[in-house]
Point group: C2
Chain length 356, copies 2
């Protein structure tokens, strides 16, 4: 249950035409808000008789020395690697890491409704989470420092790659090789929810196809995230009337599933089908997979460092950090097959390109 | 610095001829100690004028609702999967998980010397850690509930597989196939420290060879743990005067490295060399690797559940839980090659057995 107060931060924000986070920072005396804005917000709060609640103020009980890290799971490579980067930075600063793995939306709803973090932490780092507007408001109302890794939400501090740019790097590699029929295997979570990274990667795929004078919306499939999703996604693409010669996968784990289906289908990679994705997961080298590398532990380290700085009173000037990505070209991509030897007409040959 | 007290729990334990953990449990009124023993310990403590220190007593400040999970790293599959199992159980019971990733021995020493956990947690779960006797004593002196996953230490509650049995299952599969020259790639951590699982797996390898009337000590190599260690370990085995026809690897990640070296060496698996390991890591299916499956998330779940029970006052009757392992036979093992086509004389052929 939300605490009952007639007026809340959202009212103050509406009256002063600033974000809830800015109201929160201003009323808690955090840096990052100009003095005129702070005075305006304070005046509005006075007018509305709004008092920042003790629970909502990180200052109320003094520092706890703890930072909550909220992830949608810990036994997937991206999440555990981000957490490794975060924990190292926090521990170096003498802070403890509280870990919350919230796999399904009902767990997330319960978490943000009951906010078990009240009075327990000085800051929260949310990893790759699709926050609902209501969840964002709850976080803002807590009045603690917040950073988001792998997504954006409100004007919380965010650490990301440019997902659209990463997709453009991947699909650009395929168009430069001469591919004109390029499919995409997207990814949704097991409950069918699309993540921000998925939507941005789709936008990058479309932008790059458009740049090359191509279209591909009939070659986009959306299975659940993961290796099995990739297997299924490639089956869907192979069911199309006009099978693509190249496929861009949401991530390396999806690509590994796609490679399995291609092996079972007797379609040689890269001779009859090129496969590319995003991550540079350790398995990518094993599978000789061309991919776009993103720095993952570094995203966690940047987030951890930023939180340490914020807790030391240094509000970062940059609210969004975007780390660079780059192509890693291995053996799963090549020029498209000629018309007569395309995927539709390919003989069952064995190649040694993508063994461990 | 250790708190200065003239007498400590070890003195009481020595005088009563029980373990420090038993002294700790008896003086804190925890279950699991018989009444006569408790009275004897209390009498000895009175004799020695030993008073359990507030810091050493988990009861002193009331329950914190937090459990510390100490791992040697979070971005490796075994550790992150165990943590997933632990966190789920603890969160279901309304407890929070404090995560500590201590990668190198200096971090571990600092951690156990300064014990940042004092007054912060109700219990500690240590994952796959080689605890020194001094570290074990420090843990016992803290006087909180402790569980160990993937190792043993003192008479703390432990959750494990039977590593020796798992190795026997793996090596027995090779001897039944008819292999007589069987190598082993062990694993040490980057600082050269051997883990308990490594020593038990070596014992299982030796026991199974002995059972088959074989010896293999000249075919045991010990590179650092991980994929690169496996690559190097297989190079060492291929440098032996009498190259084995089968190799048992400490774990799937080591085996994946070994498979890479075999591919580069043009040695077909399983025709000229069989490879087997322990884990059933997700990559094992991808690499078509025969392995011995261990339940990993379940080990974490059992540990989390046991800690919840202990915090609710139910001391488990079983101090050691051993979960079963089983063979998973895939395509990386087969009968040994005949003499004329052994690894030493094998042609460079391509097989499609271990592609993704």
């Amino acid at each position: 249950m939300r605490p009952k107060q007639q007026v809340n931060m959202a009212d103050v924000a509406r009256r002063t035409n600033v974000s809830i986070a800015t109201v929160s920072r201003a009323l808690r005396g955090e840096p990052g808000v100009s003095e005129p804005t702070r005075l305006r917000i304070q005046a509005a709060a006075n007018d509305l008789a709004y008092v920042i609640s003790p629970e909502a103020s990180g200052l109320s009980g003094g520092a706890t020395g703890r930072v909550a890290v909220v992830v949608p799971g810990i036994n997937a490579w991206f999440y555990s690697t981000v957490v490794a980067g975060i924990e190292k930075e926090l521990r170096a600063a003498g802070l403890d890491t509280l870990l919350y793995c919230l796999e399904v939306s009902t767990q997330r709803e319960a978490f943000f409704t009951h906010l078990p973090l009240r009075r327990k932490v000085d800051a929260i780092i949310v990893v790759a989470f699709p926050l609902t507007p209501q969840e964002r408001i709850r976080l803002e109302e807590m009045g603690v420092s917040v950073a988001i890794v792998g997504a954006h939400a409100g004007d919380f501090l965010s650490i990301n790659i440019d997902d659209q740019r990463a997709a453009e790097q991947a699909v650009g590699h395929l168009t430069r090789l001469g591919h004109t029929k390029i499919g995409m295997i997207r990814a949704v979570d097991p409950e069918g929810m699309s993540y921000e990274s998925d939507r941005s990667r789709l936008a990058g795929y479309r932008a790059e196809l458009k740049k090359a004078g191509l279209t591909g919306d009939d070659l986009v499939v959306t299975p659940p995230w993961g290796i099995e999703g990739g297997e299924h996604g490639m089956e869907l693409l192979l069911s199309k009337p006009d099978v693509p010669t190249a496929v861009f996968c949401h991530s390396d784990e999806v690509a590994v599933g796609a490679l399995r289906t291609l092996r079972r289908a007797g379609i040689p990679v890269p001779q009859a089908m090129s496969v590319i994705s995003i991550d540079d997961h350790p398995v990518a080298e094993l599978a000789d997979l061309t991919t776009v590398r993103q720095p993952v532990e570094e995203q966690g380290a940047v987030a951890g460092h930023a939180i340490v700085e914020m807790l030391n009173g240094h509000e970062p000037t940059e609210r969004a950090t975007v780390l660079p990505t780059q192509l890693v070209i291995r053996g799963s991509t090549a020029r498209p097959p000629s018309e007569t030897t395309g995927a539709g007409a390919v003989p069952l040959v064995h190649t040694s390109d993508w063994r461990p």
